[in-house]
């Protein structure tokens, strides 16, 4: 087990460390006011913040289609879905705050580019089929990632994940249903779906992160049970889950190496271009600048609203105070 860097002569820290290690070993939850090693706290804050940022930035690619959805039904669904993603971001920001992170500081880190979010949201959504494929692939991948996190060792994170997972199933299903509808449509619509599948497949596989032998912090996160499965294991699960769904839908996944491996009882598949993943994470994806720019603009243009609400609350509080004095 990793241990805290600080120590004290009377062994108090060692006892706290032992207590913490025991909690983890018994698969119990760590709660906000418990003692925890600095590394555990820092790792969690980083992971939860990046997760929160991903939910918030993730509103943009699909949000672009709200005003252009082809029917009122699709518009209402898309609205609800994007609103859920905002909710996911907020659950997660408040989970990060239980660890001592500062909300404004987190927002600042996002819009200044110092903290990352999922690479997937830096790809564009040129057609309405992208909305369907995002629900199917991206929310499907998110489900693979998030279901095990419902048993993450940090209580508030695990509980946020339980709420999130309950909502993700709607996201994935609305996407798949949208695609089924398009596949029953014209030749052109079917081509549009296949094109979106071709563009999103590999970036979706990259969502699980670098391969295990190139993922330096994974082992530690798994020892702390912040993370429950390796990147490659989750990627494999996603492939196994998605292949039969693609068959039913009638689309081809763009991987010539993709085949069922009888011996393993799982699919073999090709290797995503991890140099592309690194490039996009570092800021050089098709939409990085646009996404951050838009988030920054929303934050800055909303400043007066936040200030007005705070001023109103202060005035209201003063008034109540005066009324109390008069009554006394």
């Amino acid at each position: 087990m990793p241990s805290s860097t600080s120590s004290s002569p009377d062994g108090a820290d060692e006892r706290l460390q032992e207590q913490f290690d025991r909690t983890i070993a018994r698969d119990q939850r760590v709660e906000p006011r418990d003692w925890m090693p600095d590394g555990y706290r820092k790792t969690l804050i980083r992971q939860i913040a990046q997760h929160a940022h991903s939910e918030i930035i993730g509103m943009q690619p699909e949000g672009d289609w709200i005003t252009r959805a082809p029917s009122l039904r699709r518009k209402a669904i898309l609205f609800a879905k994007v609103q859920d993603e905002a909710g996911h971001g907020l659950y997660l920001y408040s989970a990060a705050e239980t660890l001592g992170a500062d909300r404004e500081d987190l927002v600042e880190r996002l819009i200044s580019g110092r903290q990352k979010y999922s690479s997937i949201f830096n790809y564009p959504t040129p057609t309405f089929a992208d909305v369907g494929v995002i629900g199917w692939f991206v929310d499907g991948a998110a489900i693979c990632n998030q279901v095990p996190l419902c048993r993450s060792s940090y209580g508030p994170y695990a509980r946020a994940m339980v709420r999130v997972c309950k909502e993700e199933s709607f996201h994935q299903r609305q996407g798949y249903e949208l695609l089924m509808t398009m596949m029953r449509g014209t030749e052109e619509q079917r081509a549009m779906v296949q094109d979106a599948v071709d563009r999103w497949w590999w970036p979706s596989l990259m969502m699980f992160g670098p391969p295990d032998d190139d993922s330096p912090n994974s082992a530690r996160s798994m020892a702390w049970r912040i993370k429950r499965h390796s990147n490659d294991e989750l990627r494999q699960r996603f492939v196994d889950m998605t292949v039969p769904q693609a068959g039913k839908l009638g689309v081809t996944l763009p991987d010539p190496e993709l085949r069922w491996n009888e011996e393993r009882g799982r699919h073999d598949f090709g290797t995503p271009d991890f140099t592309e993943l690194m490039r996009v994470i570092k800021g050089d994806g098709p939409c990085n600048a646009e996404r951050i720019g838009r988030r920054r603009a929303a934050h800055e243009e909303g400043a007066w609203v936040r200030e007005a609400a705070a001023a109103h609350a202060a005035k209201q509080a003063r008034r109540e105070e005066q009324e109390k004095e008069h009554a006394a």
Binding site: R33, G87, S94, E104, P156, A160, R163, A309, A313, A317
Partner: protein, 97 residues
């Protein structure tokens, strides 16, 4: 009213999922005042009929037992096993007890 560094204060949110059940803590959020805390809580924690009633409470107004005093604080109930029904041996053939 704003928090120490100009941020909106933090609120803890409790939701009664249906009549007959207690309010349960569901999470927290930031809001400028009580009323905003309630409307935000509605939008954030009850988008799918999860509640029939919401309590919002400033986090800095909550008194909590600290984890450090855990053992002595809860000790009074630790040695009173006679408070539990299983403490008492009743023959199996005595009905309804």
């Amino acid at each position: 009213m704003s928090g120490t560094n100009g941020q909106w204060p933090l609120y803890e949110i409790f939701v009664r999922s249906k009549r007959g059940l207690n309010h349960v803590h569901v999470g927290s959020l930031r809001a400028a005042d009580d009323r905003m805390a309630l409307t935000h809580a509605r939008d954030l924690y009850t988008r799918r009929n999860e509640g029939v009633s919401i309590w919002a409470m400033r986090s800095d107004g909550i008194a909590a037992s600290t984890p450090d005093e855990k053992d002595p604080f809860f000790e009074p109930s630790g040695d009173k096993i006679y408070r539990h029904p299983t403490f008492y041996d009743i023959p199996a053939d005595v009905p309804h007890i």
